[in-house]
Symmetry: C2
Subunit: 157 residues, 2 copies
């Protein structure tokens, strides 16, 4: 993809994901740093989803589920789109990525999937705070589906 086209896609992507570049501009992140931080965000989200799943399968603890759901929502709301800048579409030494090239070419679809996750993750946090395990189970499924929809389309095996 031509650089100007990629930069344009990045700009659109940052915009649609609600990324405010203040912090990023003040302290620009190198591509490998962006990749490390986005992987950290997804990894932290995965751990918290796993905790919620464990609570739904085993003894259910309202406080742990509420905190885990708040963490999932916080990651979803954190503007990870800012960490998919130019040069982050490929492995950089030790830092590997599973993102497909299509991710950088389809900003509208990325926006759609990102907003869908935001919606479900924030609803999961809201429901978890009420302590209604049944409602959490249903909303956990919708949140997992939102994660999977993006993995299926933009993450390599």
């Amino acid at each position: 993809m031509k650089l100007w086209k990629r930069l344009c896609a990045m700009g659109v992507l940052a915009g649609v994901l609600g990324v405010v570049a203040g912090g990023v501009l003040a302290a620009p992140l190198k591509p490998d740093e962006q990749m490390k931080f986005r992987k950290a965000g997804y990894g932290f989200m995965a751990w918290n989803m796993r905790k919620i799943k464990g609570n739904l399968e085993g003894p259910y603890n309202n406080d742990e589920v509420a905190k885990a759901a708040a963490a999932v929502a916080a990651v979803s709301n954190s503007g990870l789109g800012a960490l998919f800048g130019p040069g982050t579409d490929q492995d950089l030494g030790e830092v590997k990525t599973r993102v497909k090239p299509e991710f950088f070419q389809q900003p509208d679809k990325v926006k759609e999937l990102a907003l869908a996750l935001n919606k479900e993750a924030n609803e999961l946090a809201r429901v978890a705070a009420t302590g209604d395990a049944g409602a959490v189970k249903a909303q956990f499924g919708r949140t997992s589906d939102a994660c999977q929809a993006c993995h299926d389309r933009f993450r390599k095996e």
Copy 2:
């Protein structure tokens, strides 16, 4: 350290950090998985602290700061203590750790530092939501100090 002693320390540690083992028991994490997830949590927290710092130095965006502070608090509240189980005190293949042995031998000090971070991080999230940049700057400093206090004592160079 003798195994029973380490297990005891782990139990105390899990307890003092308010870790509820529901999810963990239902889906036990191997030591290298615990290390990967805790590094992800700290890495995600570091990125969000960096965003707040950038906003305090450059153009200040209330929404980005509020979301970043909520993310820092979410990590602090997520029960990372559950990810310092037996066998996670040393490098495991590709998964490296900078935690000092003392971390596993001083659960009371770990509790003190963890609760101090929880207090400052939750206050940072509360202040950030008000949009008072001056108050955020002061509280950001207190939160950074709480991070540093633990790094100085329990993290290798």
